[in-house]
Symmetry: C2
Subunit: 250 residues, 2 copies
């Protein structure tokens, strides 16, 4: 029975897609069966994991899976262990829906095919994000070290609370992950320290530093050939260990 994790925060550009895809690749490399569902019509995780334009999937995306409540015909196998439910522009049509349970129903047929299902949420608090949270067991909330993202955090946690109260009582927070931290900048440090004070052990011990190499993985996927790759991945590997500790004991 798959554990479903959302990666979210409505603030744009805080590391949702990067964290979803790097974590998925690292866990698939350890032999876990992973399905990544791209819920952003920009198709960034589609681009990252398939190394193709999202438009190559037009007519065969998560939008169609949601309409039919059946993902099977639309799953793209990037490898034996890592599968993708791709997205492109058409997914925006889904925003006219009002039912929060569509995604949960759509994933039901494949719950036994995977160890983890990851949901890459879009930068908004609309119906796609609400479907994602309603279908999830856990949420990884991204916190880029900046004032606007810190401000967005509180609102995202409140939305999670609403979903938990009214739609998905078993929704739980996996944790708050600091991303793109610039170790030289005191302002970055202050934001994360403030988050640790306010949210205590919800905040992962691991902090992901800003490293250009991580951006480059979006072309060609995660690699571990060079020292530079391994250096960039090290914080994500410790994040994966921490994450597994938080989501598997339940």
């Amino acid at each position: 029975m798959a554990t479903i994790l959302s990666f979210g925060n409505q603030k744009g550009g805080c590391g949702k897609t990067t964290t979803t895809c790097v974590t998925a690749e690292l866990l698939a490399n350890k032999g876990n069966r992973i399905l990544v569902v791209d819920l952003d019509h920009q198709g960034n995780s589609t681009f990252w994991l398939s190394q193709q334009s999202p438009y190559n999937f037009t007519g065969k995306t998560v939008y169609h899976a949601l309409q039919e409540r059946n993902p099977l015909p639309y799953i793209y196998k990037t490898s034996d262990y890592l599968h993708l439910l791709p997205a492109e522009d058409e997914l925006e049509e889904f925003d006219r829906e009002t039912d929060y349970y569509i995604l949960k129903q759509t994933l039901a047929p494949v719950m036994n095919d995977y160890d983890y299902i990851f949901l890459d949420l879009p930068p908004s608090t609309g119906i796609r994000t609400r479907n994602g949270l309603t279908a999830s067991d856990f949420v990884v909330v991204l916190l880029q070290s900046d004032p606007l993202c810190f401000e967005a955090l509180e609102r995202f946690l409140r939305l999670m609370q609403t979903i938990r109260d009214d739609y998905n009582h078993s929704l739980d927070i996996a944790g708050i992950l600091p991303t793109m931290l610039d170790p030289r900048a005191s302002a970055d440090r202050q934001i994360i320290d403030e988050a640790r004070e306010d949210y205590d052990d919800w905040v992962f011990t691991t902090e992901i530093k800003r490293k250009t190499r991580l951006k480059e993985f979006s072309i060609g996927g995660v690699q571990e050939r060079y020292t530079e790759d391994r250096m960039a991945l090290r914080p994500y590997k410790s994040f994966v260990e921490e994450l597994l500790g938080r989501v598997t004991t339940q």
Copy 2:
């Protein structure tokens, strides 16, 4: 008669709010009358320009101005020269609309009160962004130096073309602004060079480098007290000169 500029790209976190607010503050300091319209329900430019929580404006936001096709009761004066039409969560209700001309009609009563009206677009290609582009004379398209943002650029330009063909024949591109460039990273350099090759003189000569100081302006607004402030603002000042050259001669 105000010139209306949109700051956009549906990719999250590419510098739309930062560029809108820094440019607005720099132009207001030069004696231009500026109205910033926050079209993102996250309310990031509201937070930046008012230094208050967006929730302080609940019930008195751009959402209400749009419903009544009249902005006047909802304009917040941050200074004599810089005014704000604030946003918060309720603006998401606007996404059920299908009319592209609502914002244009709403701004009509104040067109003679300002030199420039800036629209801070949300990270999406939905009805708010389409209203923004339909109301605009020019668009500044943000390009963060990263593969996902470069991929998003083409789609955003295509959306602009659709709006220009079907809804707003006078829509024009002001330019593509490289942001958050890390001068040490060759991958960043490659992305911008590729953009210059593909899009030629659409790309501004000015490139905004990544500087933590710019993040900090979101708390307390633009300051020019210390050398560090002036260093961080220098690329934005040269951007403002270039921008004025591109939008005023028309």
